[in-house]
Point group: C2
Chain length 367, copies 2
């Protein structure tokens, strides 16, 4: 094999496929990037058996061929090469020579035959949205997946298409995050659970531009993201997602409107006093005068008044401050509306059109 690409194109493509290179694996071949120049285009592939990424690389093929190179070493070499044309040559002993200007690297590769190619996925059902939108809905929900595997379903996000609305849901037992977007065309109804890790990695590769599009294909076992020169294939989480509709009552006793940034800054100050060992809640005391936020821990106490506009009953309620902050950080609205029932029932932060809904369970506190 002999190919020539610019360092910047190599760098861009390596960065993309690195997202599916596992950091630890019992199969050393998975720690490689497959460089496939066996046909008329150069493709890089990586695959951790859950998530696979394939991307086309701009460049010239002088001699067709295929090789798998250690991803970490190869990416480091590419990163540190001068900004110029890079030639990658391999021989039949799987030795790769990477040259750029006067620098010349020799590393050993592995046979492409041992590599696990991406699964073949039939691309029937698909939806197309802007990369900006997909990146945003991931950012606005991903924080409330459960971090580990005690409940595998909680490590993923529900992607549900219903009446041409895409609804994305994540939950971890203490809170639920929901984002809805209207789709431009009409699509078949669909319901899949996508691994959180896949969404995190895809989100890193997406351009985030409104004019760039991404297509999502669904099968029973896989989701495929197609955008720019890149295809990402991920397994789905099998099983039925939680039924959340019965938790989403729209009844409330108290409705407040508050400046999001003021509330966020206030909670950010309050968490100074939260000890790792004794996790104290932040208490909201809401009456006609406004909202008093207070926290009291072994370190000290803090209280602050914030102006609100309020409808309904007075209420005192406690929350894990982190859960409030996570939701507030991803909401773009300047003024937000919070709905409360009583000190034992979840609060809802949502806009009128319900494009976002954040449900957070309260915690007990000693008043």
């Amino acid at each position: 094999m002999k190919i020539i690409c610019s360092k910047s194109n190599l760098q861009k493509s390596v960065n993309i496929v690195m997202k599916a290179v596992p950091s630890k694996t019992t199969m050393p071949i998975l720690e490689c990037i497959l460089i496939d120049a066996s046909a008329n285009e150069i493709k890089f592939t990586s695959n951790d058996m859950e998530l696979g990424i394939e991307t086309k690389v701009e460049g010239d093929i002088l001699e067709k061929g295929i090789i798998a190179l250690d991803a970490k070493i190869f990416s480091e070499i590419v990163r540190k090469l001068p900004d110029n044309e890079v030639t990658i040559t391999t021989d039949d002993k799987l030795q790769a020579v990477i040259t750029c200007e006067k620098a010349k690297f020799n590393i050993s590769g592995k046979s492409g035959d041992d590599f696990s190619y991406l699964p073949f996925v039939e691309k029937n059902d698909s939806i197309t949205i802007s990369q900006f939108t997909l990146k945003e809905i991931i950012r606005q929900t991903i924080f409330s997946i459960a971090p580990n595997d005690t409940n595998r379903m909680m490590t993923g996000e529900l992607f549900e298409i219903n009446n041409n609305i895409l609804k994305v849901v994540s939950l971890d037992g203490h809170r639920i995050s929901i984002r809805k977007i209207e789709l431009k065309n009409s699509y078949l109804d669909k319901k899949v659970v996508v691994p959180g890790k896949t969404l995190i990695e895809v989100s890193k590769i997406l351009s985030g531009e409104t004019q760039d599009e991404v297509s999502l294909f669904f099968t029973d076992n896989h989701i495929v993201f197609e955008f720019d020169n890149t295809v990402v294939v991920s397994r789905l989480i099998e099983g039925e997602y939680f039924r959340i509709d019965q938790m989403l009552s729209s009844d409330y006793e108290t409705k407040i409107q508050i400046n999001k940034k003021e509330l966020l800054n206030c909670i950010d100050r309050a968490i100074l006093l939260v000890n790792e060992s004794d996790k104290k809640p932040i208490i909201m005391n809401i009456d006609d005068q406004g909202m008093e936020l207070k926290i009291h821990s072994t370190i000290g106490s803090m209280n602050e008044e914030i102006d609100i506009s309020k409808e309904g009953r007075d209420i005192m309620i406690g929350f894990n401050p982190k859960f409030l902050m996570d939701a507030l950080r991803v909401i773009d609205d300047e003024i937000i509306t919070i709905y409360l029932v009583n000190s034992k029932a979840p609060c809802f932060i949502r806009d009128d059109a319900q494009t976002y809904i954040y449900l957070i369970l309260p915690v007990n506190f000693m008043a």
Copy 2:
């Protein structure tokens, strides 16, 4: 006590004294910042018993007093307060109330009487240089102190004044770094060893501006840095520093001139192939054609040609690439000169005026 300061002034002063707050200590009082408003100015003090810092804070004293507040909590509170006037009040039970706009923190303080004040140092001998210069000479030598205490003398830097030249030396058994600067006035000869930690912390506080000055006072046991509103007092390392003069021969067999950035980038690429477990040297092969840099490890091999101008014999010599990079990174010259004797003898990187000298011992290699 009742004082009012702007958040930004508090922040600036807290950041300065935090540099001498120990992260671990058996004396809890040392984890505090002393706020002293007992006279006509507000002063913050911190002291880890090796290093002490005192800085004046701009603000108004409404009621005189003194208190010690937990440094970590106090600095976090200050950092997160709104950008406005901050009032700090204490009562006779050592409770401190910190208010800013509508936010109000209550934390417990400690009596100022328990605090270890900075040692009294007689300020006779002093030199004055720009903060820029001091910051630079620290940066250009600090990397070659020994990181831990197996040889205490190596954890410090020699500051020697001789014939109105300030010479700063650090060494770790593998290399020596020397910086010399000419002083503008005439000073008494002096020779002290300053703890590396002190220099690192002082360097972080220095403005780095050429028009700002810093005065250094020396006593038998202490060094004092006075600049802006701040005084830093540090113990010295006792004992006699290493005699390095006999190691600094000016004889050489080979002299080369090389573009510093090219050499640095090339070594930076080569270290990709250095394994933590088998630390391979980088080999310089110097002849009339130029310098070939090469490295060969279990990961692979790399070689690169660099143009040089050369006088004297051909030579092949191996180095720990990190030691070369550390020195190259802090030299400002575009073209540097390297002097070599043979493959067992140290190389010297120095300018003609010897304002900097970097001696690096070679390592054995199998050619």
